[in-house]
């Protein structure tokens, strides 16, 4: 901010300049909006094409390259739903169960850790905090082999335990960091007032921090859900039987199966699988955008 004051003082003639610029800006403004609309069209086209293709008949997919079908064929959804041995709805149930467990795991465990980092004083706090920040940039793929070996010795491979337990142990450092940042914004006077009234660290957590952290908890919950919903590598590694498959693992089968014959069904199930994320987007758009701003979380 100091550089601001170091900028040489302006001569008094300065004010008219912005006014001049604004008048000249009108054609510029039109070009700007047209360019934005053009970019937006390119960006949204794949999604529109995907939805359109999910309603095309098998022959139309190869002949009609336009986004929108000439004739609506909802049959793809019916075929896709039953194209694997298990009904697709079952994979949705598995994904929803997994995502819900992770939402609560992340929200609870990361909030506990964040409260310790943001508000409590204890030995080695700074060391642990530095390690937590260090794990932010640690690529998860580095750990996939030994974690697999470890979970295998526990007999957890082929169950959802390896996909859930880490989230109950606050290993998503992003959320810990997000919540620490958030809690730093809660006035300390509230804690101190509560302490004077006889509250210990546990009551301060329950009565002050927990209720006031709701926005950070909601952001964490939404991102946890979407990330678990989209996550593929781990689910691919740990889920064995078809009855355990989640949506991404099941969708993957469309690559294996005879290829061209199932394209319509593949589009239909892909569109269905994106629907929950899209609904979250519609409902919480503002919150998601603000979430990335405060913490740099990637979508």
């Amino acid at each position: 901010m100091t550089t601001l004051t170091e900028v040489p003082a302006l001569p008094p003639a300065a004010p008219p300049v912005p006014v001049n610029r604004r008048r000249r800006d009108i054609p510029r403004e039109i070009v700007r909006i047209l360019v934005l609309i053009a970019i937006l069209t390119v960006v949204l086209y794949p999604l529109v094409w995907m939805v359109g293709s999910s309603f095309k008949s098998q022959t139309e997919i190869t002949s009609n390259l336009n986004a929108w079908p000439r004739e609506f064929t909802p049959g793809n959804y019916k075929v896709g739903w039953t194209s694997l041995g298990t009904a697709f709805g079952w994979f949705f149930v598995n994904s929803i169960v997994l995502a819900t467990l992770n939402v609560f795991g992340n929200a609870i465990s990361c909030l506990l850790a964040a409260y310790a980092f943001a508000r409590l004083r204890f030995r080695l706090r700074k060391v642990w905090f530095a390690i937590m920040i260090g794990t932010l940039l640690l690529p998860s793929h580095v750990l996939i082999i030994p974690q697999y070996v470890l979970f295998r010795t526990f007999g957890w491979v082929g169950s959802i335990a390896p996909l859930v337990v880490p989230h109950w142990l606050a290993t998503d450092a992003f959320f810990v960091f997000l919540m620490v940042q958030f809690m730093r914004g809660i006035p300390r006077e509230l804690d101190e007032a509560a302490r004077i009234d006889g509250c210990g660290p546990y009551q301060v957590f329950l009565r002050i921090i927990l209720p006031l952290s709701r926005p950070a908890l909601v952001t964490t919950a939404i991102f946890s859900f979407i990330w678990t919903w989209n996550e593929f590598f781990r689910q691919l590694v740990y889920l064995g039987d078809e009855s355990e498959w989640t949506v991404p693992v099941a969708l993957r089968q469309f690559v294996d199966s005879t290829g061209q014959s199932n394209v319509g069904a593949m589009f239909a199930m892909s569109v269905l699988s994106l629907l929950p994320v899209f609904v979250f987007f519609l409902a919480f758009q503002r919150l998601l955008v603000e979430g990335i701003n405060t913490s740099g979380i990637k979508g």
Partner: protein
Amino acid sequence: MAMTTASDPVLSQPPVSRAPAKRRGPGKTPRREGLAGYVFLSPWLLGLMGITAIPMLISLYLSFTSYDVFTPWSEVEWVGLENYREMFTTDPSFWASVVVTLKFALIAMPLKLAVALGVALLLNRERRGVGLFRGLFYLPSLLGGSVALALAWVAMFNREGAFNGFLRIFGIEGKPWVFDPDWSLETLMLLAIWQFGAPMVIFLAGLKQIPAELYEAAAVDGASRWRQFWHVTIPMLSPVIFFNLVLETIHGFQGFTSAFILSNGTGGPVDSTLMYTLNLYVKGFHDFEMGYASALAWVFLVAIGVVTVIFFSTGRFWVHYSDADER
């Protein structure tokens, strides 16, 4: 009796008790709070040990063995640096994956950030409708990492895909781009660039922080918009650019899902989409060479560490912090 002497102010005053008294400082119940700190931190600590630290050590050990999941622990064979030697000298897939990953991270990520910055500049106005645009541009960042989108993307750049439909307007007959080794990685890069919304949102927030007075001052001094961009916007935004660059590059190194779907887990055609993490998957979970895959993982970790260090050490020369004097 001993307790009374300990709490007696005169007796407990001498040097011995000075240190604890000092540490107590303004806090009221440090011991209780210290214990509470560890109670609240315990899930995280358990995770740090069990999910991160111990597996890292196991991985380091395994990287010196020829471990596959089937041999019992007692019969695991120590091979010393053999895995690392094989990786760097005799395994062609290792170098193929390094080239693919570097290409992906060093070409697609800067392009993604350039698009993100360009669109953010276009959106950086206090107008109605900006929020809607911002939201819609952000949408691909939420959907793009999924298997569903990778499937659609492959279909889109296949022979009968939307991209060839677009080319046909100009009378160009396209090809199945995703199965052409010269183009398959490029289609994955496009998928990554398509998800420019997340860094764009961060850029937009950064642009809002630049004081308008700087632009006014530059305009008074006769600076063109182009010069204003290079001499005001870029320096003032450099911390945000730096942040996005570090995050996106490291993120880019870890691309997996789209490459897996395009190649059905093989990295093909002709290793053209063999991302490093995909190679690691193939070695670990397809060939079950877990020892070798652990060595791959450690090389990956070191490489990412080196890249991060390079970023932070060069960042000093081009990242401009406007509050630097206050530090």
